[in-house]
């Protein structure tokens, strides 16, 4: 009996669950394996994938803000810091999605790496604004790089490699 591939909606739900888990798990006292890093920032995957797939909807930005505020709450940081980081990844991902007329796995991965690097740069600017100039962005950068390395594995949960559903591509 052939197994049916899960639908796009099911994959998206699992992607959302993974994103929420990556926010909540580091805050639970479960040991250093669940710290961040090494746990990836799965919300960056969601931001990038939703930017490519969610063409005009308002749900993606709102969901990212909610996840960002939840992350701020659990981390004890100022409200808005993670929301800005995730939304900026969404906006960069949006630009990348428009630029890529014929995406494939390599170009999508490259786009995500660029998005991650820009997100780290934004963290270098915004984190000292909210947390003081002594703050170190190194751990965020490490978590973001781990996130970028793992992207091809989780890519189907957040976006398809095809051009059919992407913005800027005429069907």
């Amino acid at each position: 009996m052939a197994l049916r591939a899960p639908s796009r909606g099911v994959l998206r739900v699992w992607g959302l669950v993974l994103a929420v888990a990556s926010v909540i798990l580091p805050a639970l006292p479960l040991g250093p394996v669940f710290a961040q890093p090494p746990l990836p920032l799965a919300v960056l995957w969601a931001a990038y994938g939703w930017a490519a797939e969610d063409e005009t909807g308002w749900r993606a930005p709102v969901a990212l803000v909610m996840l960002g505020l939840l992350h701020d709450q659990l981390a004890g940081g100022p409200y808005g810091l993670f929301a800005v980081l995730y939304l900026s990844a969404y906006l960069v991902g949006r630009v990348a999605a428009v630029v890529m007329s014929a995406p494939n796995l390599v170009s999508l991965w490259g786009g995500f790496i660029v998005t991650t690097l820009i997100s780290i740069g934004i963290a270098y600017v915004v984190a000292p604004l909210g947390l003081g100039r002594n703050v170190s962005v190194m751990l965020y950068a490490q978590a973001a790089l781990i996130t970028a390395i793992l992207f091809p594995i989780v890519r189907p949960l957040y976006m398809s490699a095809g051009a059919a559903t992407r913005p800027g591509v005429r069907r």
Partner: protein
Amino acid sequence: MRRAGGGRRVPPGVLLAIVLVVGGLVLVGVQAGRDGGPGEAVQQAGDGAAGAAGAAATQPARAGEGFFARLAGMWNAHARVEELERENQEMQAWRELAERLAERNARYEALLRMPVDAFGEGADIENSIAAQLVLDSGGPFTRTLVANAGDDHGVRVGYIAVNENGLIGRVVSVGARSSRILMLDDYNSRIPVMGEASRVRAVLAGQATRPPDLYTSPFQMQSPRLDFIVGAQSLREGERVVTSGDGGLYPRGIPVGVARSSGDGQWRVALAASQRPIDFVRILPFVGIERPEATQVEDEGPPLNTTSSVAAVGRELTQAPPSALTAAPPRPRPATPTAAPAPRPQPPAEQPRAEPQPEPAQPEPQPAEPQE
């Protein structure tokens, strides 16, 4: 449906994202460097709710840990009993030795009329509050913990968190039923310490740049650095490091960890509290000194933070000696913070506060009143 790249209009989702980014930046900027206010109140309320949720979420894991530990213990119960009996015999010998040394130490201290030693001089161990950690550090930027004891249990900002091994950190935020503890390895943590034997003074500075080693010591926190070491050559590898009490934020004598030389001339501290995963904590009531912001100071003249700091220092150094011609002497600072500070005297209209003061501090001598 219009596409993002195909049309000229910006899609509503992108527009919303841009607006939210700007809003987030404003939110971050508004909270920057501000203690208290609605943001902190919301954070404290959120800590309480998240702490309750975290305790509920980790309950199965904690119960599972105990269950599996008991299950594993059943396999080698006989061997463990034998090992414990052997350890017990050794411990009894050590206990006798410790009691003899403690008695001798007490006699010496009595001879020297030393004050009674406590767990950190000035720390109120009798009225400490026991709590359990319910939330770990939830992000890559800060190193804080949330304990399930708050204002309702008597916890206040500034109280000290310790466990059976040593100092964990300091309470920085208190909600109704939860409190947030700033850990020693957070980048904001700076505490004065000293070597227990050598009495070398240093500042223990959290780094938050080095991730914990996952494989060799799984529960090791990041080792903070020792800065501003006075007499570093006297510090010894493996020497116990305790709080020095300088500055009044921590009582003196709480164990912090063990000094480790990192080879490049830097000293780090292997934190004592991280020998085991932190679960239960004891919160010690201790508020050494009032925060400067909490102490209202009467206006004693022109502000020091004028545009020229040189001018300000110069005014301090060239303070005119009191004479019959000077005005009334400055009022002394109040010893305790006042609930309702006296209104500040209004500065003269022709002398704005932000302007530099080039003229010397010595007031212009008033012409003597003509004698009639």
